[in-house]
């Protein structure tokens, strides 16, 4: 039906997303309603995009890492670090009981720049361990996954600093022309990454480094450097997501910010159909991330009992992954041909 392989691969994830949305149209009240409240858009669909922005942003970074044949388990912890550092910069005295802000207030440039720089260093640590030291990605990033949350807790000394910083709050809670700002950030990021990887040969380099690093190196591709830079980029995405989360709740919760988000991001990438070490699809990961968030929003809006929410989430993901799997696809095709012959 679809000649283009890329489009065909996206078909099943897109169908799954549509089914989830259709389910809500019929069973959740006011699901499609989008109103304008206080000059900004307001509705469940907007929520999916807005709440999904952090997962979406991380899954873009994760897609590239995954395509190099790696995985980054540390993104959740990096989120915690970036939020903790930002909050600490805005209100350094809070954890010691000093409620005053520094005068003049910390500039937006510092509040965003410093955490991102630290995240880039964290990403470089992962990248060096994987690409140059040669540790398995799952182990290499596990180190920072465990240690990173500890570092974030050291930064905030185990407390939850709360703050007010008007320009910074815009990042997670602002609206541009009625659209939540995190949505705009994620769209810009997707566009930039799409341009960089699909309109230049960088995407091909990443895929070849994942598919066959040795052959790529003989071809003159600096595959180690490429792998390292995907980890740095992934950590930067996590840092950005961390800033959005922190700015949204105007507090840095080192214990819980980004907890288990790495699993959501990995699930999004896999649902989207990116190959481990090979072809990647950004559109697939975007759809994957939207599926994950739609499930969450469905659970909350529809009122599924909290005891079974995780089971429900798991079931949907298993079904989507099964439909996509080659074995099932082959079985369907054989069945179709048999019926056509009969």
């Amino acid at each position: 039906m679809f000649k283009n392989e890329n489009v065909r691969k996206l078909l099943w994830p897109a169908v799954a997303l549509l089914v989830i949305l259709l389910f809500n149209v019929f069973f959740t009240e006011n699901f499609l309603n989008i109103e304008v409240k206080d000059g900004h858009l307001f509705g469940s669909l907007i929520d999916i995009l807005n709440r999904g922005a952090p997962v979406l942003i991380i899954s873009i970074g994760m897609t590239l890492v995954y395509a190099t044949g790696g995985i980054d388990l540390s993104v959740g912890s990096v989120i915690a670090i970036s939020g903790a550092v930002a909050a600490q910069l805005i209100r350094p005295g809070y954890i010691h009981g000093i409620l005053e802000y520094p005068d003049p207030p910390t500039s937006l440039f510092v509040v965003i720049g410093v955490p991102l720089l630290i995240c880039a260093i964290a990403g470089a640590w992962n990248g060096v361990l994987v690409a140059f030291v040669g540790i398995q990605p799952i182990i290499a990033t596990l180190i920072l996954m465990v240690a990173g949350r500890g570092i974030a807790q050291l930064v905030t000394e185990g407390q939850i600093p709360v703050f007010i910083h008007e320009p910074f709050q815009f990042l997670g809670g602002g609206f541009l022309m009625g659209v939540p700002f995190p949505v705009i950030v994620s769209i810009l990021l997707i566009a930039a990454v799409y341009f960089l990887t699909r309109r230049t040969s960088l995407g091909l380099f990443i895929e070849s480094s994942g598919g066959n690093p040795i052959a790529s190196r003989y071809m003159g591709i600096k595959s180690r450097l490429i792998v390292l830079s995907t980890y740095v980029f992934c950590a930067l995405c996590a840092g950005l997501a961390g800033l959005i989360i922190c700015s949204d709740i105007k507090a840095a919760d080192a214990n819980n910010a980004g907890l288990f988000l790495e699993l959501d991001a990995i699930a999004a990438v896999i649902i989207g159909g990116t190959m481990w070490g090979g072809r990647f699809t950004l559109a697939g990961s975007v759809i994957g991330a939207l599926i994950i968030q739609s499930i969450t929003t469905t659970i909350l809006a529809f009122g599924i009992p909290p005891e079974v929410t995780l089971v429900f989430k798991a079931l949907v993901i298993i079904i989507v992954s099964l439909i996509q799997s080659e074995g099932i696809q082959d079985a369907i095709n054989t069945w179709k041909t048999k019926r056509a012959q009969a």
Partner: protein, 344 residues
């Protein structure tokens, strides 16, 4: 390109150095604080020596708990406290308890890190004739003669208090145009399966049992966190236009939900009456701003009650098997007055 690679390598090494430095600091800190610290006045004949083994310093609540136990010991001249921090490790805690037994303290008190594994050391304490008080968390042992009393928060009662407060105050607080015949309540639960979530869930329902106008229309977990509280409340607000009351199992979730309510163009504390549990400082700040209506205390300040119990034990009095922490209910009206005195 090679130069760039070298530069990146160098950066990696610096990161490594930073991480090593971090872990080194952590290790040193741990050594310092596992050493027992003695607080109290000069020894005299009548003084009571209490050995206390704390879990660690994992949260603001726990730190307030530690401060309460230490500062109350300083206030009482007849109490000498030997304080040991177990750094979240059961082996450290058991080591500390053994050292208390060796030092022949008068009373041992501790917050168990996990529920099991304390049988042997508690038997040693019993054999040495040292009474044991459990604080804040319980142990899972069939032989309850191994400890004198358990002292801690009654999560069930906190839920009941929240429910009763709502029943008694709703008519006074509601907007005039809202009816009191049916009141739609939504609930943000704590982490599924945790004791505070289970008990606050049950307690609240029992608190409003004889007031059928209160209907819990939605209940969902917010994992005790601000971010989840906000996300869940956003979804509630979209699916249901008639929410009158929000009951949150802790303050953090309520504070997140308040942001969601404001973003939906409603006034928290007025359009939606909000009550929560814990009574942390942030909740008082929200009450002063009029955004939260009431918080039920879950107090970590059990120092005074602990030493009262210790003194009674020393006088030879028998203690009840369970002592609940004294906890208050703080409505909005008293928030401004109480805020400066909040210790956590």
């Amino acid at each position: 390109m090679k130069l760039l690679a070298k530069g990146l390598m160098a950066r990696g090494i610096i990161t490594l150095a930073i991480l090593v430095a971090f872990t080194a600091c952590g290790g040193k800190k741990a050594e310092e604080s596992t050493e027992n610290t003695e607080i109290g006045v000069a020894k005299d004949k009548k003084e009571i020596v209490v050995g206390f083994s704390q879990i660690g310093a994992e949260s603001a609540w726990r730190m307030a708990n530690t401060t309460s136990i230490k500062s109350e010991a300083e206030k009482r001249p007849n109490i000498k406290l030997i304080f040991a921090d177990a750094q979240q490790k059961q082996e450290n805690q058991i080591k500390a308890l053994r050292s208390f037994i060796d030092q022949k303290v008068d009373v041992i008190a501790f917050s168990p890190i996990v529920e099991s594994g304390y049988g042997p050391v508690l038997k040693e304490a019993k054999a040495a004739g040292i009474p044991v008080i459990l604080t804040d968390r319980n142990v899972d042992l069939s032989d309850d003669s191994l400890w004198e009393t358990f002292m801690g928060s009654n999560f069930y009662e906190e839920g009941v208090k929240a429910g009763k407060w709502l029943k008694d105050n709703y008519d006074r607080l509601k907007l005039p145009e809202k009816s009191s015949d049916t009141v739609n309540v939504v609930e943000l639960q704590g982490t599924v399966g945790s004791a505070p979530a289970n008990d606050r869930f049950k307690g609240f329902r029992d608190g409003i049992k004889d007031a059928p106008q209160f209907k819990i229309t939605k209940t969902q977990t917010g994992d005790f966190t601000r971010a989840k509280g906000k996300e869940v409340m956003e979804a509630f607000l979209k699916a249901d236009k008639n929410i009158d009351v929000l009951y949150a199992h802790n303050d953090d979730m309520a504070l997140g939900a308040i942001q969601a309510i404001e973003e939906a163009g409603l006034k928290p504390g007025k359009d939606i009456i909000i009550l929560s549990v814990d009574a942390v400082r942030g909740a008082f700040e929200a009450m002063v701003e009029g955004k939260l209506n009431c918080t039920v205390e879950c107090s970590p300040l059990l120092g005074p009650q602990l030493y009262d119990a210790v003194e009674k034990l020393m006088k030879g009095e028998k203690l009840p098997k369970v002592i609940w922490t004294q906890e208050g209910v703080f409505p909005q009206e008293v928030a401004a007055k109480t805020l400066p005195s909040r210790q956590y």
